[in-house]
């Protein structure tokens, strides 16, 4: 029979993959979506080129908040030792 703790572990690993996909999409989308035109046409946010601001600054902060929420909502406390309950 499969250890029920493994179900929790498997689900959290899948969440990890989903987060990376989201992370990559934001990073790639903003960087090359906004950054591919001629530099003279760039718009600037907080003195940084817009692509850089969204992809590297706002995107990173967004990911950190998203990770925090995900852990709060979906990550479970389980014991690691076999046959011993965690308080």
């Amino acid at each position: 029979m499969q250890d029920p703790r493994f179900k929790v572990a498997n689900r959290e690993a899948i969440i990890g993959i989903v987060l990376v996909v989201v992370n990559f999409a934001i990073w790639y989308g903003f960087a090359y979506g906004l950054g591919s035109k001629d530099p003279s046409e760039y718009t600037y946010i907080a003195s940084f080129p817009a692509w850089f601001f969204y992809s590297c600054i706002a995107g990173t902060i967004f990911m950190i908040v998203l990770i925090w929420i995900t852990i709060k909502l979906f990550f479970k406390n389980i014991p690691f030792d076999d046959g011993r309950e965690e308080q």
């Binding site: 992370n23 990770i67 852990i71 479970k76 690691f80």
Partner: protein
């Protein structure tokens, strides 16, 4: 010239590190299980410690010295590339996560090889893994060691052999006597120094450059390409930069020095906290240090050797004592990487080779003295090679990172999550990954416009799955 204001903070830094080593040694002497304590810190790490030791082990000379130097020449595109490291903060811990923690406790595994040994039940897997770990990590240890000594040399004005000796004695003493616990505790301090140093230097550089707007205008005047994601010479294609996600983000799961940390923490809460703290830490350092490299260009134009950007900039924009603290950061990064590698190589010799093949019935006392001696001898050997690094070691170090990922990634991950994974698949994928990595590196490192590591990782995955499936009957 000897810079006292820089030497004093570095000196205080070394004293604290020694103190931690001696304190940890007390724990080692009191522990019930020497092996578990010495090589794994008794599996007691909390969230903050886990996050810091992950981050400090991962962040090395290249994050503080090499990386900013390249960013100085490439512009914002290199910061974009560096941000591919963000997943190293959360992805590794989520993928290995609780499953690895449970399984490694069940197997009573103390090293990554222990886990592979029990999972695949094959001596070939053990030998292949032990050789890859020893060869690659010995080489990268030597390289980091040389980097550390060169840094001390350039900061303090001491001669290279003297600098090397100071660096080596410090690391050897606290790692040898204190084991993994000393490594993790000093990592926590070193990680903190790395983060604080990054923030101070970033602020100092922005002020010295007259604000970000000013700096961006100067960059655009010099070469507008510096502001694009494509690099100052347009060489950073989206595909090439994207494949760095595999090398420095996702593939990190397969690095033994990182994976071993994922079996050393206490409980679920430690893991949850470490994921958040680690991501914030890695994000801050990687973003900060690489952006500093770019911003340094108008502040301190005309530096020809990239590696000198960060030290010169620090001495230029910060008052002496602050400069000393900031320059302790790369020192900390190098030391915290070296100490992790040293204890890992030592555990490979003692646990995976000596205890497994040579003397399985060794007494606690024998294991203890062997562990201290092995750690010391490896350390001294590294010092010896670092005095005059042979070409061959430098060459090996170049692909230590990707080579280890190609060798271990799938054996670790599929071993955890795929029931049908077996020893034939594991051996085949290790050999394929390593050989292909070295071949591509030699023949055509930018094959199809991708980073060297991409194909070996993809191909070794396919090989692993196909061979495992084809040998199902033989394995059962």
């Amino acid at each position: 010239m000897i810079h006292w204001s820089v030497i004093i903070p570095l000196f205080i830094f070394l004293i604290i590190i020694f103190a931690i080593g001696f304190w940890a040694n007390k724990q080692v002497r009191q522990a019930d299980s020497f092996l578990q304590e010495y090589f794994l810190g008794g599996r007691e790490m909390g969230g903050f410690l886990l996050a810091m030791t992950m981050m400090a082990t991962y962040g090395s000379a290249s994050s503080f010295i090499g990386g900013p130097g390249v960013a100085y020449n490439m512009g914002l595109g290199w910061v974009l590339l560096a941000m591919a490291q963000l997943p190293a903060g959360y992805f590794v811990l989520m993928i290995l996560g609780k499953k690895f923690a449970i399984i490694s406790r069940r197997y009573e595994a103390i090293t990554l090889i222990d886990y592979l040994k029990k999972r695949y039940d094959s001596n070939v897997v053990i030998i292949l893994s032990a050789i890859s770990i020893i060869v690659f990590l010995f080489a990268s240890m030597t390289a980091q060691w040389v980097g550390g000594a060169r840094l001390i040399e350039s900061l303090t004005g001491l001669r290279y052999p003297v600098a090397l000796l100071i660096f080596a004695v410090t690391v050897l003493v606290y790692v040898t006597i204190g084991g993994f616990r000393a490594v993790a505790l000093t990592d926590a301090m070193q990680g903190t120094v790395m983060i604080i140093g990054t923030v101070i230097l970033l602020i100092g550089t922005i002020i010295a450059g007259g604000g970000i707007e000013n700096i961006m205008t100067s960059l655009a005047e010099e070469n507008p390409q510096m502001l694009t994601p494509f690099g100052s010479d347009g060489s950073l294609t989206p595909l090439y930069v994207s494949t760095f996600w595999i090398l420095i983000g996702l593939g990190v799961v397969g690095l033994p020095q990182i994976a071993v940390r994922a079996m050393s923490y206490k409980n679920s809460q430690s893991l949850h906290r470490a994921i958040l703290i680690g991501t914030i830490g890695i994000g801050t350092i990687m973003f900060g240090m690489h952006l500093i490299g770019v911003l340094a260009r108008p502040v301190l134009p005309g530096i020809e050797v990239g590696d000198k950007v960060m030290p010169l900039l620090t001495l230029e924009v910060l008052p002496p004592i602050l400069a000393g603290i900031v320059l302790a950061a790369p020192m900390a990064a190098i030391m915290s990487t070296v100490n992790a590698l040293l204890i890992l190589v030592s555990s490979t010799f003692v646990k995976d080779i000596y205890l497994h093949f040579i003397n399985p019935n060794a007494s606690e006392k024998q294991i203890k003295s062997r562990s201290f001696w092995v750690t010391t001898i490896i350390g001294l050997a590294v010092v010896f090679f670092a005095l005059k690094p042979p070409e061959f070691l430098i060459w090996l170090n170049l692909f230590a990172f990707g080579g280890l990922e190609s060798a271990f990634l799938w054996s670790v991950v599929l071993g955890l999550y795929w029931k049908k994974a077996n020893k034939y698949g594991s051996v085949a994928s290790m050999i394929t990954g390593l050989t292909l990595y070295i071949l591509i590196d030699r023949l055509s490192p930018h094959i199809f416009g991708m980073h060297t590591v991409t194909l070996p990782i993809l191909v070794s995955f396919v090989v692993f799955v196909v061979v495992s499936l084809a040998t199902q009957r033989r394995a059962s």
